[in-house]
């Protein structure tokens, strides 16, 4: 009954066809998406070192870059998780500001102990994330719309709650306060770092581990890649989405704490650039806006690129108004590259 068994040629020949150099590059980038942002970071570092007459690669400058990236890098982790599920968070900046105001205000106005204030901030962050998750999974609104709405809402709540006033360093308890601990600095050689930098790096280590080594991480990728396939594989897609938005909310609070240490004050008008810059960091870092592919380390590199461009162009004496031009161009190149990489095998 076995009429001429089918040949397995098609299965065997895989990968052995002739490929051009460009194909090889395309496949390598497809497999290791962190390569392209890492190359950009390296090249821009070298270029700025020359353009700034050697001021750029000083350890002091590296320390400043890392400190200045800490808040952005922290928040961009949550953004990465959400974008991996093919969502987006436009409210990450105002969400962080709202939580950091809550932490500051309950500590200062209500006299809550700092550790408890941080815990309350974490709960508020979780609640904001849960709200996003609820609307996205139950009301079925697109994440873009949901977070566009909450972007304004969180901003408004922050202004109302703080009466648009800044909570000062002294009110927050001064240098020694746990609330400002993330701003505490230490030296490695002549490079000055802060606790906030360490927190950001630890967050990357933890989330990178979880994404690549746990079931939850794999389910996050599958949910963003093909939600129907994920559902049929027995994954509770809504639960995955809900958890991702809640983790991102928790990261608002962590980012808010790092922000307190960075600015040594709390204000609803702080860090206005960070909102969109998290998306920039994720996109430049090689994570696809269509979900399902990307690495959190790419985001860290992307966040560093943003800061390196700003500081490097500054040190090179380039008109400050060109900074956004450079970053904007980089985004377009990064997304075009992503589209090209995604065409592998098509």
């Amino acid at each position: 009954m076995d009429t001429s068994p089918p040949t397995e040629d098609a299965l065997v020949t895989l990968g052995s066809q002739d490929r051009s150099l460009l194909d090889h590059i395309q496949h390598a980038l497809h497999r290791y998406p962190v390569i392209s942002p890492a190359v950009v970071l390296l090249v821009s570092g070298i270029v700025f070192a020359f353009l700034s007459d050697g001021r750029f690669q000083r350890p002091e400058t590296l320390g400043i870059i890392l400190q200045q990236t800490a808040v952005l890098a922290t928040l961009a982790v949550g953004q990465t998780l959400i974008i991996l599920t093919a969502g987006i968070d436009l409210a990450v900046g105002t969400g962080m500001l709202l939580t950091h105001l809550v932490i500051a205000k309950v500590a200062v106005d209500q006299g809550v102990p700092p550790i408890l204030a941080l815990l309350i901030g974490a709960l508020v962050g979780l609640a904001l994330g849960a709200f996003h998750g609820y609307i996205v999974t139950r009301v079925k609104l697109p994440p873009f719309i949901v977070t566009l709405g909450t972007f304004y809402i969180f901003n408004s709540l922050g202004l109302v709650y703080s009466k648009a006033q800044t909570v000062s360093k002294e009110a927050l308890g001064g240098e020694g306060s746990l609330l400002l601990w993330t701003g505490k600095s230490f030296h490695i050689g002549s490079m000055r770092l802060t606790v906030g930098v360490l927190i950001a790096v630890s967050l990357y280590v933890a989330v990178a581990y979880v994404l690549s080594n746990t079931s939850w991480g794999r389910h996050v990728y599958a949910t963003g890649d093909d939600p129907e396939a994920a559902r049929l594989a027995g994954i509770n897609v809504n639960l995955v989405l809900m958890s991702v938005y809640m983790v991102a909310g928790l990261i608002y609070a962590l980012g808010g704490w790092v922000q307190l240490g960075r600015s040594l004050s709390a204000s609803a008008n702080a860090a206005t650039d960070v909102n969109l810059e998290t998306i920039t960091a994720v996109v430049i870092g090689g994570t696809s806006l269509f979900g399902g592919r990307g690495r959190v380390w790419g985001t860290l590199v992307g966040a560093l690129i943003v800061t390196v461009f700003r500081i490097g162009l500054n040190l090179a004496g380039v008109n400050v108004y060109y900074q956004n031009f450079a970053i904007g161009s980089l985004i377009l190149v990064a997304v075009a590259l992503d589209q090209w990489i995604r065409r592998v095998g098509k």
């Binding site: 397995e8 098609a10 990968g15 746990t214 794999r218 396939a229 095998g345």
Partner: protein
């Protein structure tokens, strides 16, 4: 064959399902015997998919009974059917293109490492799952896929189908259901998938095959269940009936 060995492994009796005023299933029966390939054919709207979805837990029938190995089944979701040992390969394949072969095969049933790494740090056993995924593909004679860590999107249509079938075969302990597995494939890739179906049967796994492709059905099926107007109207075999006979019964041009 004696009556003893011809006891069906999976049966459905009088399955009915309505969607509003539309009767999708009108008291449909089905028997699947151990070690056979049972093809289900029928015109559009005959209730093939609805019947299969009842068996795979994707929809809940309004009436009727299903038994697997003599035990009553009541599925409320696809996971229930899977837990009972019934695996379904959907027409859309349900694979995640950006994930690698091994991750796809174990998607939703990742195994954790033993010891503290697994229990506290929730670490999945990546190496072990890759080894077993490779073995699952080898067992089906498709171990020639060079690299278990390559993403599914880099595979051809036939290879993706092979991954989906390997996943079903790796976990389907009782029954495997294939929904239009050759619909999107070329001649050669269809041949490979038909060979996979024979391999599954040779390993003792009974297969239910839904297909519109009569030559494929007649090439691989042991028995052919013909669905018409929400009911099973006949069961024929490739030995006793021709393709045109089957099509005539299917369309109502001939009595069963």
């Amino acid at each position: 064959m004696s009556e003893e060995t011809r006891r069906p492994i999976l049966t459905a009796e009088g399955l009915g399902k309505r969607f509003g005023r539309v009767v999708a299933l009108d008291g449909s029966d089905l028997e699947l015997y151990p070690g056979e390939v049972l093809a289900i054919i029928g015109d559009n709207g005959a209730g093939k998919s609805t019947l299969i979805k009842c068996l795979s837990g994707a929809i809940i029938p309004d009436e009727g009974e299903m038994e697997l190995d003599g035990k009553r089944l009541s599925f409320r979701r696809p996971q229930d059917a899977r837990d009972a040992g019934i695996e379904t390969v959907y027409q859309t394949l349900a694979v995640a293109p950006a994930l690698d072969i091994s991750t796809n095969i174990f998607l939703g049933r990742e195994r954790r490492r033993s010891g503290i790494l697994g229990s506290v740090f929730r670490m999945v056993d990546t190496a072990g799952m890759r080894r077993d995924a490779k073995r699952a593909l080898d067992e089906l004679g498709i171990g020639t896929l060079q690299d278990i860590t390559q993403t599914v999107e880099t595979l051809s249509g036939g290879q993706r189908q092979a991954v989906a079938v390997a996943r079903a075969a790796a976990f389907g302990s009782k029954v495997i259901i294939l929904d239009e597995p050759t619909a999107a494939l070329g001649v050669r890739e269809s041949g490979q998938v038909l060979q996979l179906i024979r391999d599954l049967r040779d390993r003792g796994l009974p297969v239910i095959l839904i297909s519109h492709n009569m030559p494929h059905v007649f090439e691989v099926a042991d028995r052919i269940h013909i669905q018409r107007l929400g009911k099973r109207t006949a069961v024929v075999t490739p030995e006793t009936h021709t393709m045109s006979d089957a099509v005539a019964i299917m369309t109502g041009a001939a009595a069963a």
